[in-house]
Symmetry: C2
Subunit: 357 residues, 2 copies
């Protein structure tokens, strides 16, 4: 059977002040009316039954998950006691799925990415599930790059391994970190690189085996948790074990080391929506290139983004700004600094403004 594991534990800061510690990006309606999580679950419709969808998240967010995707059964919400990056989360999800169906295929999806063409996405997913179903390969979807993006990791493709449901599957030759611009241009020009989408498809038993091979420490922890499953000690064991697990990503812990990785190219308008400026692609601009969501007037203003659900924002004589009013806070940021909002978070922390983070 096919399962989905939606990773919804992230506590991103790049959409502060709209995102907060208790309301991270995946729970926000950044594009359209539905939240990123709702969109992620929604695009699995007809592909994975709701009772096959697992959401892995932090305890702080279980209320939000239940509220936003009530179709997912409560028992499918996997609560991490601490955030330990994606390797631990994937491992915990894998043993949970394996307890039900060891040979089940898990589709691992970040909860906070955008996909424009859901039909094409499901077609690629169909191929990926078929490829993963054989139980020999870790499968990932590589996004065909459309620009020399320096903000993403890349995957080099090797030879064609086969075709699944009409989708070619290539041997992945390597995962690379975020490149500099020159290298990103080379990657784009070569046609041999994909963006690392963070979407993985594999059989539960296979990823557990791979974790045993490449991350024995994590594997040992997962075995303890697995042994306690279904018992009254589960929560205590999970809490006790989890804090000691290595805090690394599944990319770094497994994917970069594994030799049995297939990558299927995807081209369906994928975007990780990593900053306020990323929203520009999805909003209507006025003639001066401004986006106004909420209440406001923009006078002598160019290429500026204003997001304000409560206060009326008036801009005068400015350009290339991001202005966001959220909760008790106002952000005024130059567009070219949209990736550096962490600096603001740090400054607010230092100055004792924890309550608005």
């Amino acid at each position: 059977m096919v399962y989905a594991v939606v990773m919804a534990g992230g506590s991103g800061q790049r959409f502060w002040p709209k995102s907060r510690q208790e309301m991270p990006k995946q729970f926000l309606s950044l594009v359209g009316e539905r939240t990123m999580l709702q969109r992620t679950v929604g695009r699995l419709k007809g592909f994975v039954n709701p009772d096959g969808i697992y959401i892995i998240t932090a305890a702080l967010y279980t209320g939000l998950v239940l509220q936003q995707v009530p179709e997912v059964p409560t028992e499918n919400i996997i609560t991490e006691p601490y955030g330990r990056d994606t390797a631990a989360a994937v491992g915990l999800a894998a043993i949970t799925v394996a307890a039900r169906d060891p040979e089940g295929v898990m589709i691992v999806l970040p909860a906070d990415h955008f996909i424009a063409d859901e039909e094409r996405f499901r077609n690629v997913l169909k191929g990926a599930v078929a490829a993963a179903g054989e139980g020999e390969h870790l499968v990932t979807i590589g996004i065909t790059p459309s620009r020399p993006e320096t903000g993403f990791g890349y995957i080099a493709r090797g030879r064609l391994h086969g075709t699944f449901a009409g989708i070619p599957a290539y041997i992945a030759e390597g995962f690379t970190e975020k490149p500099d611009l020159e290298r990103a241009r080379q990657y784009l020009a070569s046609g041999n690189y994909f963006w690392n989408s963070g979407m993985f498809i594999w059989r539960a038993d296979l990823i557990i085996r791979m974790i045993r091979e490449y991350m024995p420490e994590l594997y040992a922890g997962l075995q303890k948790i697995q042994a306690a499953m279904g018992s009254g000690q589960y929560r205590d064991v999970l809490n006790g074990v989890y804090s000691g697990l290595p805090k690394i990503s599944i990319d770094y812990g497994v994917m970069e080391k594994a030799t049995n990785v297939l990558v299927l190219p995807g081209s369906f308008g994928w975007d990780d929506v990593g900053s306020w400026t990323a929203l520009e692609a999805y909003k209507v601009k006025d003639r001066q290139g401004n986006i106004l969501e909420g209440k406001g007037v923009l006078v002598d203003t160019q290429n500026t983004l204003v997001f304000s659900s409560e206060k009326v924002v008036a801009t005068l004589g400015v350009k290339d700004l991001i202005v966001v009013v959220g909760g008790d806070s106002v952000l005024v940021c130059h567009k070219k600094k949209a990736q550096e909002i962490k600096k603001v978070i740090n400054a607010l922390q230092e100055q004792g403004y924890q309550e608005i983070l």
Copy 2:
């Protein structure tokens, strides 16, 4: 006797969103803790008794006046039924003072200007009162210019008429409108020009005579109002007459035409505090030239002014901005546009945001 008439009816928009239609600049604490009106009244201490201080304002603001300067007797608050610019206000104040003391000297002061050196101000005022007391001259205080300012009107000085309480009094040779930069530079270099401060000192009977001479229409209206003074019809007559009065300034209506004007030079740190950027002179800056009044963090930010009493403002990667959070509104304005906030007011009006103006 000496009286003061504080003109507190203005509805300036240049400090939006902190100033509002129902809370204009003179009632705000822009510099220090006291409001501009409180400072204006306060600097008359020891010079004019509270019962000699009149405040002329709009009905909308009488509550604020009573609240902010309780030392001024209620009966000294002159309420204009409509704003008809300064000529009408001066005329109404003059007949009010004249009814009590026709030969009384009136000091007419805008309620929203800043004066750094109050001692020197009172010294000049002493000379002006002495000069005005003779009953022959309209007296004004001209500010010795310190820069080629294009935002003020200028007064040309003629020959020395005499010295009063140690202050030289010159024949005013003419009032000029706001000059362009080249002309302002010439004025500054010549040493023969003063800034028009809008502070006037004259005997009540003299200004009434001058109004009769240069503004017969206004004079006729004032006569009707005067005739109704002390009767039950006063308010009705005032309302009826006032709306028909010419809406022009006392500068334009009388001062520019009169030939008996004396100007006394003043140099006491005067400022009309005409925009958000004018406040820079009175606030402490950080090393990057920023001013933060209220709550906020300024990261990678230069020469930026932030005023926020409620929300926490975070700026990142910006410079030369004015950010103000006030009531239900947020202003983000380039400093070089600080004089054009009226454009924002107009845009807000057009788009139906009257409630926040």
